[in-house]
């Protein structure tokens, strides 16, 4: 379920969440590996996590209307 949600993310968001949250890399290693700024890394990570959270919410409560 979570892996499916991650697979539907845009590639840059997917790679950041894969390195940071799946593999547990320190954020400094993630931004060095991808050559992105600290801010960009955090924005991509946040978007990725927010989408996975929403996918979980939809999965767990499919009957309820999803707010934005």
């Amino acid at each position: 379920m979570v892996s499916r949600a991650i697979e539907t993310l845009p590639p840059n968001q997917r790679e950041v969440i894969r390195l940071r949250d799946v593999l547990g890399w320190p954020s400094s290693d993630v931004r060095n590996a991808l050559d992105i700024s600290e801010t960009n890394q955090r924005v991509l990570l946040h978007r990725a996590r927010a989408k996975v959270r929403r996918a979980l919410e939809s999965y767990l409560r499919p009957e309820e209307e999803q707010g934005t």
């Binding site: 894969r18 949250d21 799946v22 593999l23 992105i36 955090r42 990570l45 996590r49 979980l56």
Partner: protein, 77 residues
Amino acid sequence: MTCIELVELATDLLEGSMPADERARFDEHISGCEGCTTYLEQFRITIRLTGMLTEEQIAPDSRAALLDAFRDWRATP
């Protein structure tokens, strides 16, 4: 701080990259907001569940496709 602002700052908080003054406004809001408290807890659970995946379950794109994606993203004005 509004709920919308707080939701956008959840990763800043959890990554420990939030300035002290912002952290104070974050704490002040969330202490009185059940919705945001729930959101933050769901966010933590999401991260924990993601951390239970193995690398094999998340197939990265080819290196070239990823590098292209990041190059395009950075080039966006």
